[in-house]
Symmetry: C2
Subunit: 464 residues, 2 copies
């Protein structure tokens, strides 16, 4: 059988894979037949905001955990595509922490520039993937969600780009079943407007908790309480935000914390992470891993050790995002087309073990960023993806962490230079804390007249 | 291959199927090998309350649409099992509209009385069902949600008992994507306590809307507004509840209705129904139907016309519930064991068309109840399930509708005699409108001392 590649998902990872093949095609190479299955009506994955929560209009789990007024929580300079820069897309410098719509526009711009939409079957969900040992083919069974028609087709390779921030991890807490207030997982959070004047509790101490809490504070929550399991985030929080240890139990609307403190809340948001969950894959092929920067059983972080024709993109916990997915996609492309090759099983294991050894020795956030930078460097060295200054990105990450530490409420007003083009980001016309409109139009508009007043309001807000 | 039957789901329908086989076994008949797959940790289906919404702890869509303080919205006398009465279970008369926990206890009591739990594989989801034309077997692929292990096994027959009130139908409304208040489908509604003092909007005019609205009013909502598409429910609502026509658009927290009225809301609940959704079945086998009392393509409402070894239980819109599932399950059992037989394809179609003709002539609610009573009678006549007075149940339904019409806030205080035993239901110790504790313990307790005061409070509340 000639090569046929199924790509599951058309988010940043799936698009990276499509673009990787497109890039090879433009240099005159033969590429396999490609079909990308995307269960949403449009591409962009997480960046494709959906007001629905829980189950989507087709009866499928809502993919995206996106919310209104989400602005990038890391500098865009750390995620820039090496082969499609922000300068190229926007034509002028923009700020370092753009809102969702702006990042979606950037992803979409790269994708639209290539002739890759023709490969994507939208509103088509993958129901089941079977591998036949004798034919060495994958049978991919899909459903066209608009018609309900199911169909099966054989593929030589499968690339899983469905991400791992879509299926919430929802632990049990004593008494939570009768908590009378609003109760949701971060996955179902769509906006904080209604928490104005409310006391809200966020269970968790990672990025979801941090950002949803800060977002709620920005939108006027009366108080924001975080509950951590192992360690507090430890930012210099403004008055009205506080960290407490783990919940012991709920009684009505009161949460009792393990340190004896009790408080009443109007709303609880479980920021308790996500599951690696691949309901379309049999065990053995489905990645089974906690969320970390080096999931076991993936050679070079992408090729399933159990089946070298099955690949995962973006399965890692992520400091680097878009450009890491690119590095992975370019490498997977070369594995499929034979420009690169996978060693024998024993050597795959030796490679994985070597990375795991280093992974297990990680002690600090900086170690982890450097680990991921080295991982990406190793991938890019195998392919024709443009190498970029990964050490400089690491320094950008460290500057970002430092800026956050200095002021968690204003770090998004900082700017950094592009690692790809050297262009310095522009200071945005309105400070993040006073900008309540996250639209592309408002973001790209010239300095709005109310910005000066906004600035004054922000200065007031951030004085603690 | 000897007969092997896969039952998908252990809710009221799946339990009915297990009980049907168990009943035959107790009369000395040989029964097939049976495996029942249930994705939840316990049986009871909709009656198994889960505080989670959206996605459950295993990463699967939450099955149950159940909420705290749900009391039966129809008289229990209309759903009583003909072969396991309320008298047998509770040993004394109880009221006609018990809360969830009491009905779960009743379902569970019948199930526990039989030795059927051994057939159920809990926390096991069916991923995919394939029918092989040459072997004439179904391959059922499942995942053990606790271990993540997938497995496939062949079956001669498949019974689908997954219900059709689990996958929400969520239409789009202009501007809803930026509605700032709480926004959910009825499927994700878990309790109305937090709507005290709030203005809430329910979109829909069927049972979910009716009951969630009334429930919210009971729990202290400041106002309850219903939005209907075709016709209002038309009850004599108390002050604070009102029906308006369809939403034209949302602007911020304001809903604009098609009659020009505009109102601000704190919360919106989409009571817009559910989808027949069988993500584990290929098209052709998956039932594709709107929610009505006679879905096309099912012979005698259970056997798939496309594959006579595939059966659906409870696929109808439901006036009758538990006892209808029993009638269906007993008949399906007899089809499988050969005590009953399915006619040739042409005759199946003639039968379905005859029922559809009568279905299409239905004009009133009473017509529809009688239609469903006749449908059940036809099934029971084929089997050894105890016949019961279906005309009397129809009269009970009509009395119920009349009581609701008289007073939508107090109809649950009415009582009816059992069709099975003649036992008159007991007036409950506390009027529904003042009973805020829906536990089995409180329900079964002797008259609580505060009931007299409650009664006075209720009398006051219901005076409009």
């Amino acid at each position: 059988m000639t090569q046929r590649v199924a790509i599951i998902g058309a988010g940043p990872s799936g698009i990276a894979q499509l673009r990787a093949f497109d890039s090879a095609k433009k240099t005159g190479q033969d590429i396999p037949e490609i079909v990308c299955f995307e269960k949403q009506d449009d591409w962009g994955g997480q960046w494709n905001y959906n007001w629905r929560s829980g189950i989507d209009k087709y009866g499928e789990p809502v993919h995206s955990s996106m919310y209104r007024n989400l602005w990038s929580n890391g500098p865009k300079e750390a995620l820039e595509f090496a082969e499609y820069t922000f300068d190229e897309h926007f034509g002028r410098p923009i700020s370092s922490y753009p809102p969702r719509a702006v990042l979606w526009d950037y992803i979409n711009g790269r994708a639209e520039k290539s002739d890759i939409k023709k490969y994507v079957r939208f509103a088509t969900v993958v129901r089941w993937v079977d591998y036949n040992e004798s034919t060495e083919l994958f049978t991919v069974t899909t459903e066209d969600l608009k018609t309900g028609k199911t169909a099966s087709s054989d593929f030589t390779h499968v690339v899983v780009g469905t991400g791992h921030f879509s299926f919430p991890n929802v632990p049990e807490f004593a008494g939570i079943g009768t908590f009378p207030g609003e109760l949701m997982h971060a996955h179902d959070f769509r906006g904080a407007e209604r928490f104005a004047g409310k006391d809200i509790l966020l269970i968790g101490a990672s990025y979801s908790a941090e950002d949803i809490g800060v977002q709620s504070f920005k939108m006027g929550a009366r108080s924001v309480t975080y509950s951590y399991r192992t360690a507090p985030m430890g930012f210099d929080w403004p008055q009205g935000i506080e960290e407490l240890p783990l919940i012991d139990r709920f009684e009505g609307s009161t949460a009792h914390f393990s340190n004896g403190v009790s408080r009443k809340f109007d709303a609880v948001i479980l920021c308790t992470g996500y599951l690696h969950h691949y309901p379309f894959l049999p065990s053995g092929l489905a990645l089974d891993s906690p969320n970390n920067v080096y999931p076991d059983t993936l050679y070079r972080g992408v090729a399933s050790e159990n089946n070298n024709k099955l690949y995962y993109l973006g399965a890692q916990d992520q400091w680097f995002t878009f450009n890491m997915f690119d590095a992975q996609a370019w490498y997977v492309r070369d594995l499929i087309t034979g420009k690169a090759s996978i060693p024998a099983a024993g050597d795959q294991r030796i490679s994985i073990d070597a990375w795991l050894k280093r992974f297990n020795a990680i002690e600090t956030a900086e170690d982890e960023v450097k680990f991921q930078a080295d991982y990406i460097r190793d991938l890019i060295e195998q392919t024709d993806y443009p190498m970029f200054d990964l050490d400089e990105v690491t320094r950008t990450f460290m500057a970002w962490k430092n800026d956050k530490k200095k002021n968690i409420m204003t770090y998004r007003d900082k700017v950094y230079p592009s690692v790809m083009t050297g262009t310095m980001a522009a200071t945005h016309h309105t400070p993040w804390l006073s900008e309540l409109d996250d639209s592309l139009e408002r973001y790209m508009a010239p300095v709005p007249s109310e910005s000066v007043e906004d600035l004054a309001a922000t200065e007031k807000a951030k004085s603690k």
